[in-house]
């Protein structure tokens, strides 16, 4: 297994944290190798924000994502910009209400932001997406991701985020 993943959205959506959660789940609790890189500098400022993950069952040499096998898009800009960089057959996960996919594209959609608003906390849309990702891709155990949430967030925030994770994971 050698999987390249790109998570993208706009600044403030917590894209980096989503990457960290998945990376930690894989590397610390999932028995996989994981490398995450992010764009720095001018590119990282302003609108678009992205996190890039390589997950593999062997040591990862080249750390960068070149042609994602999985694209998670949480904004139209991110989708439009990054969809062409991903494999044509890539698994594409989008936030239904923020992204209108290209006509021919096959995507898996979840209204992550609306569901988060439903919880009263728009900010956890990223973790809802992480839950959805976990279920859709199937290569990380739900428990591993839960553990990553527990280890990565301040204790006060853990229950809320575990709930968000569950909502995303159980979304039909």
């Amino acid at each position: 297994m050698y999987t390249e993943i790109r998570l993208a959205g706009f600044g403030g959506q917590g894209i980096g944290l989503a990457g960290v959660l998945l990376g930690r789940a894989a590397a610390l609790y999932g028995g996989l190798e994981a490398v995450m890189t992010q764009a720095y500098g001018p590119e990282a400022r302003g609108g678009a924000s992205s996190a890039n993950l390589v997950l593999a069952d062997e040591p990862i040499d080249y750390p960068f994502v070149q042609q994602p096998d999985i694209l998670v898009a949480m904004s139209q800009e991110a989708y439009t910009k990054f969809r062409p960089t991903a494999k044509p057959e890539a698994l594409v996960l989008i936030d239904t209400e923020l992204v209108t996919p290209f006509a021919e594209d096959v995507v898996q959609a979840i209204p992550a932001t609306r569901l988060a608003e439903g919880m009263g906390r728009r900010i956890v849309a990223n973790v809802i997406m992480v839950g959805f990702f976990t279920r859709q891709t199937g290569f990380l155990a739900r428990e591993a991701v839960e553990q990553a949430v527990r280890e990565s967030l301040r204790p006060k925030l853990v229950p809320l985020n575990l709930k968000a994770l569950a909502i995303g994971y159980e979304y039909e």
Binding site: A27, A34, V35, T37, Y40, D61, F64
Partner: protein, 374 residues
């Protein structure tokens, strides 16, 4: 954990309790981590007015007995070179981290480079030897920082960690061993009390390894340290003879211990006819390329320079006896290639890029295929 964070944590695990620095991308996260952590541990974090001051403060702290370090990138290293030389001359252990970015000058602040290799070696004026390590993963940013402190204390000298932006900013699993499992080599310290008459000889070399024991400020040894050429008492001695003796010893205390200092990693060297030499983040691409080439039956191996300085001349000479071709992959225009050519006595194939983006495994693979006549 990011490579930068891992580096800071490695320093802390090694007992570093003094950090002085000046923010610069892509090393700033190291300073930020220290700013967080030092107050919890009773250590000192201070943001100085520039890099000239940062390294001066680090040397002062070292003289007072602390394990101390600073972190910067190329433009800051340029300023630190002045007192890197002072550290060499006063024989004050410390660690200088350079997270390399695109250079010269302000270059590419947020993007990777590996072009400070020769600056780290020869940057300060005069003849001196330096110890430098180049991590290729966040894990090694941790491990090698620990090693840097140990080497600095072992040889009473500044040590450079030559990281790069890719390693500094990438996130990967880092295993932090329990403190008691980390190796710790202590500074050699005076074994006799301060003399009642006459000065203590703070620069009298131990005949075994040429490293003099180091008294700290406040211990009553009334030492004198000067950047001027000095005798074994530390007193200025403006003679060519004293200068030759001192400078030769400063070089030899490191050069004599090349084997002890050197860290290399090889992959598939046993049967190799072609050897790829690389270091830091570029070595990751090199390993991928070597794996792919070996899968195609090409007898190629990777020699990864975990330590860059002192250069492992003997190893390369020995390899040159049984290898047809050296390929050097590095994100500069040939700094390590020149060293490889010098040691192997023949031209090497260079896979170079001036910096800004990592060399792709495919570029190295192509060079291997060409060298193998495919």
């Amino acid at each position: 954990m990011h490579g930068d964070e891992a580096c800071a944590e490695g320093a802390i695990a090694a007992g570093c309790r003094f950090f002085a620095g000046y923010p610069i991308t892509p090393s700033t996260e190291i300073a930020e981590r220290f700013a967080q952590r030092m107050p919890e541990l009773g250590g000192v974090f201070i943001q100085m007015e520039d890099e000239l001051a940062s390294i001066a403060a680090v040397l002062g702290a070292s003289a007072a007995g602390a394990r101390a370090m600073t972190a910067t990138s190329g433009p800051g290293l340029s300023l630190m070179l002045e007192n890197l030389g002072l550290g060499v001359m006063l024989e004050l252990p410390c660690v200088i981290v350079d997270i390399q970015r695109g250079a010269p000058s302000t270059g590419l602040p947020t993007m990777v480079g590996q072009a400070d290799v020769m600056q780290a070696r020869w940057g300060s004026h005069g003849n001196y030897s330096i110890i430098a390590y180049a991590p290729w993963s966040p894990q090694e940013a941790f491990d090698l920082t620990v090693l840097c402190f140990n080497m600095a204390d072992r040889f009473r000298t500044p040590v450079v960690l030559l990281g790069d932006e890719v390693i500094g900013h990438m996130m990967e699993r880092v295993v932090i061993p329990p403190a008691e499992q980390l190796p710790r080599w202590e500074r050699k310290r005076p074994t006799t009390p301060p003399p009642t008459a006459g000065p203590y000889r703070a620069f009298e070399p131990d005949p075994d390894d040429l490293v003099p024991p180091l008294p700290h400020a406040g211990e009553g040894y009334r030492v004198h340290f000067t950047g001027l050429t000095h005798d074994e008492r530390g007193y200025p001695d403006m003679s060519g003879e004293a200068h030759h003796v001192l400078v030769t010893r400063l070089n030899e205390k490191i050069d004599r211990h090349v084997e002890e200092i050197t860290r290399l990693e090889d992959y598939g060297l046993e049967d190799a006819r072609i050897v790829v030499v690389s270091f830091g983040c570029t070595a990751r691409s090199a390993r991928r390329a070597v794996r792919e080439a070996r899968a195609r039956g090409i007898p190629v191996g990777l020699l990864r320079l975990v330590s860059l300085w002192p250069f492992p001349e003997a190893v390369l000479r020995e390899l040159a006896q049984r290898v047809d071709t050296f390929i050097v992959a590095e994100m500069n225009l040939g700094q390590v290639r020149l060293e490889v050519e010098r040691c192997s006595g023949r031209p090497a194939v260079g896979v170079h890029h001036a910096g800004g983006e990592m060399i792709h495994p495919e570029q190295i693979l192509q060079a291997i295929l060409r060298s193998a006549g495919r």
